[in-house]
């Protein structure tokens, strides 16, 4: 494996890890349920996306042929992540999770 590919893989892994960390920081720092919901959606899109891309580059470079599993992983993640976020948000509205601003009555139904 040559130096350029090693560098690309390393930076993608670091980028992914950084965004996963930032997602967790958001989860810890943000004040209420709805704002905290934004952390995990971010971690799955860019964080996991970058790591999966790193895996694709690494295995394409070290093994024969292209490594395409990772694309399938990304597709499934991008389809399912909004659904789980949506379900969480809806459940929270249903149970009237406490929220910092006062507009919850407008959006809840």
């Amino acid at each position: 494996m040559n130096l350029v590919i090693e560098f690309v893989v390393a930076s993608l892994i670091l980028l992914g890890a950084a965004f996963a960390l930032l997602g967790s920081v958001g989860l810890a720092r943000l004040p209420d349920f709805f704002t905290r919901l934004h952390g995990p959606t971010k971690a799955t899109t860019l964080g996991v996306g970058a790591m999966v891309l790193a895996s694709a580059v690494y295995f394409t470079a070290t093994q024969q042929g292209f490594s395409l599993h990772e694309i399938a992983v990304m597709v499934f993640l991008f389809i399912t992540a909004p659904v789980s976020a949506h379900l969480l948000a809806k459940a929270a509205l249903h149970r009237s999770a406490p929220e910092c601003s006062e507009e919850i009555d407008d959006a809840g139904k």
């Binding site: 965004f19 395409l68 389809i79 992540a81 976020a85």
Partner: protein, 163 residues
């Protein structure tokens, strides 16, 4: 004849590509099996599918996908900065986006895109009034956010599916 054999060409193509990705397109046998599955699965699952509108503008769809991917990168960065910055100065808000589209399938795609671009999470699609409820992490000007979502995402999606 072709229409009856392949009732959903886009779904069949997607299944075939997904199978090729899963098996790494390693052998001819794997690809043949993928082709068979792509033909059979739309029939087996036909009753579960809503009447999805036709993909009228595939080229626009590809450009749109590229734009969404770019927006996701930019928005990720923006949200990351807000998360490490002073949390108290954020102005989170529930925002109502009045929709012009009237198709549940397309509304699902739009709300998924809204959730995938960080900073906004779609909470509910009200199908009586056709309003998309979403929660924004930092929206000092909710009206501007509504305009952006309508102009940047809803208009092209309606063009792609011509609905």
């Amino acid at each position: 004849m072709m229409r009856r054999l392949i009732p959903r060409p886009a779904l069949s193509l997607a299944l075939f590509l997904l199978w090729a990705a899963l098996t790494n397109a390693a052998s001819l046998g794997a690809l043949l099996l993928g082709g068979l599955l792509a033909l059979v699965m739309p029939f087996v699952t036909r009753r579960f599918w809503p009447d999805a509108p036709r993909l009228a503008r595939p080229v626009v769809a590809l450009k749109f996908a590229a734009r969404v991917a770019w927006d996701m990168l930019v928005a990720n960065w923006a949200v990351a900065r807000r998360v490490v910055g002073p949390v108290a100065s954020l102005s989170p808000a529930f925002v109502e986006v009045p929709l012009d589209l009237r198709d549940p399938f397309v509304a699902t795609i739009l709300s998924s895109i809204v959730s995938l671009t960080p900073g906004t999470v779609s909470v509910d699609v009200d199908r009586d009034r056709w309003v998309l409820h979403l929660h924004a992490l930092d929206a000092p000007d909710p009206d501007a956010l509504v305009r952006v979502i309508k102009l940047r995402y809803e208009t092209p999606i309606r063009e792609i599916f011509s609905c």
